[in-house]
């Protein structure tokens, strides 16, 4: 159980760094979705099932869709 936690935490850091460095906002949206997946897994490992459920529904589903919708209505380009 402990090792799952440690490995997933490392993945989370990867996803977070990639989500803020990538130069395409749609890719940011997708990577942010992956970040939410990892977070959900982490909370399931720590036994916080309700939080994991909320993150699975909110973070992975709806907020990614909002993000894509906003990118759809603005621009994908970013300088950094």
């Amino acid at each position: 159980m402990l090792w799952i936690d440690l490995i997933v935490l490392t993945f989370v850091i990867f996803c977070a760094i990639a989500a803020i460095t990538v130069k395409d906002l749609l890719a940011t949206a997708i990577l942010f979705g992956a970040y939410s997946f990892m977070m959900c897994l982490l909370w399931a490992v720590m036994g916080a099932v309700d939080v994991a459920f909320t993150e699975a529904s909110v973070g992975a589903g709806v907020s990614t869709v909002f993000f894509v919708a906003a990118v759809f209505r603005t621009s994908r380009r970013t300088k950094d």
């Binding site: 990867f14 749609l26 890719a27 997708i30």
Partner: protein, 95 residues
């Protein structure tokens, strides 16, 4: 059996590394989407495995089911973007 489940979970996490590589290093946005989709499908299984490790799997099935739905919706929305907007190649490479 618990040890076996734990090793299966660690194996799945190791395999997730490949998908994360694809999600992080593109090259195109759609490749990232493939990577995230693969991460999602592994996560469904991992959630059930964690449920067995806690010996309370009935609580985790709901989360896995919701996960399967919402992963689908997110992937659909992201790919639907390209049905309406053109131009995949602009700024699609990481650095």
């Amino acid at each position: 059996m618990i040890t076996f489940f734990l090793s299966v979970a660690l194996g799945l996490l190791f395999l997730m590394l490949f998908s994360i590589y694809r999600a992080l290093f593109g090259p195109t946005v759609l490749d990232r989407l493939i990577g995230v989709n693969a991460i999602g499908s592994k996560t469904v299984v991992l959630l059930l495995l964690i449920g067995f490790l806690y010996e309370r799997v009935d609580m985790f099935v709901d989360i896995a089911l919701a996960y399967a739905f919402l992963n689908f919706i997110a992937v659909l929305a992201a790919s639907r973007y390209f049905h309406k907007r053109k131009g995949l190649y602009e700024e699609s490479f990481m650095d």
